[in-house]
Amino acid sequence: MSQFSVSERAAASGVMSQTRAPYFVRKKKGITPRTIAILVFLSICALFFCVPLYVVVVTSFKTMDQIREGAIFSLPTIWTLEAWDHAWNHACSGIKCDGLKVGFWNSIFILFPSLILSISLAMVTGFALALWNVRWAGAFLFLLFICAFVPFQIIMYPLIVMTTTTKIYGTLWAVAVIHAVLAMPVLTLIFRNYYKDIPTEIMSAAMMDSGSFWRIFFEIIVPMSGNILIVVLILQITSIWNDYLIGVTFGGLTGQPMTVNLANLITISTGTTNYAHNMAAALLTAIPPLVVYFLVGKLFVQGVTAGAIKG
């Protein structure tokens, strides 16, 4: 039977319409005043959001002499990397003046163990809570839900004591472990909510095939976690990197992350403040998460909203 092919006809008519003059000539509908107003307003707001970044960037390239002239929004007359060099190599944090590079490497060494620890723990826990009939799972979930909101201050002293007795207080390990501990409730809830939506048929089939908790976890669940893993990874990278409180509390003098270095630098009240140095330091601290953000912005949004809502 000769049926009409929809796509063929659409294609044919598409060709036709290209060659034909319009039936009714009407004035082109331009952009309405309302659209212009909205776009102008949004652009002004966008400008407001960009101003601090702009100021930080231009200041970091200025000489202190130019900064003293007071034109905060002007471009550097002489572009110099002096401030960047100083911030990276010589900025003082407390009594040591080895620059932010110390904090940078500290942050890196905190980041990796912390990521591995927090994400693996949360994945396994989330998997067990979501897909295995553990009788007290509901109660535990509720407890985790509460823990996710507990202010840090209420558990701060006991954690200090615990890290001191295990002799990790004041090291990078303390900061990394505490990050993992504090992130555990939220991350577990995120993973649990993600795994909960895995069709029960898949779990049933996996149970019939193997039945082993760890085999199902590694062979089926982990490969299925790609999306959520990236979202959580981004959430964790930015929040660990940007943390100040845990770093300053558990890092002691040798385990301080970059944010603590920066805070020490900008809150220093003795002597004259070199704003070029401060801004270069601020920018150095901000660059890693900003790079992550501009590379995978959409996933970042998913991460922070997941962390906020599901937590």
């Binding site: 039977m1 000769s2 009409f4 006809r9 598409g14 039936y23 009714f24 009407r26």
Partner: protein
Amino acid sequence: MPAVSFEHIVKRYGAVTVLDDLNLAIEDGDFLVLLGPSGCGKTTLLNLLAGLLEVSDGRIMIGERDVTELDPKDRGLAMVFQSYALYPTKTVRGNLKFGLAASKLPSEEIERRIAWVARMLQIEPLLDRKPAQLSGGQRQRVAIGRAIIKKVDVFLFDEPLSNLDAKLRTEMRLEIKKLHDELKSTVVYVTHDQIEAMTMATKIAVMDGGVIQQFGTPDEVYEHPANLFVAGFIGAPAMNMRNATLSVENGKVEALFKSGARLDVADYPFKSPPKNGANVVVGMRPEHFSIDDSAAAGQGRFSLPVQSAERTGSDATLYLTFEGEMLALRVAPDLAAGLKVGSTVPVQFQTDKVNLFDAQSGQRI
């Protein structure tokens, strides 16, 4: 004077042309159903009329007004949406009132209209409820109420019954039909459900691939489908179609099937004189067959083996093998029950109900 007319409508999305040079006009008081499978452009056409989409080219007239450039609110029409689109935070009364917000009517008039609509649709007891507290059918009524309270000349319906269960759908169908008769307004109604189209429409436009395949009354569309698409789309079970060749010999016109069976089509109202040897598709509706034991041999008689039978309660569909394919017949249920699979039954087709299409173009001949 046509109530609504589409003139040379073109709608493009970027490089994709959805509607191309579409023309359609309906009269005041018509109930036009735009019928077609999903993606055929019927909803696009409705949204163009509503003003929710802008045409790429062409003109839309409502009465004598060119509304192509007007905002939706200025076109003088009201619409019932597929999801009803009731304002969930307002009561039924609030929903009805909000629809009149722009009309600047005095409040007594608004109250009067609310009372009128509520009475007509029997939603008086629901006026102070929120949409979430209503059943599907009740929401549907409120959605219709929100449209008719505006007392406009043209009502648009976008698949309004598709979210209802079968029983409610039948009820609402009758109700919408009744409302149309009472209000004497013009309706443009989009659906993919042919039963809705057949029962409610005064005019049906069958669409496929952005093109109106046929425009006519339900009877015309059903009895005289303009092409194979319409013939196949309308009717359940679908029309039986078989390839055949025409044989024109000394005044006799017959369709010759591959198996050698013949069907006299001399009385068929050919648009142009039939050509000998032309390839055609013969369309036969399932209900135009009957099982006939009488010995009289004549035109349209076949003896066919039974393949299966399906009973649907009031009706039964009998499947016979004809030309190597299933041939559907609508028969009385007790008759179907008495037949054995594999046995051969004599079948009589009403030759005057035959449909013939050109095998190449698919158009009716």
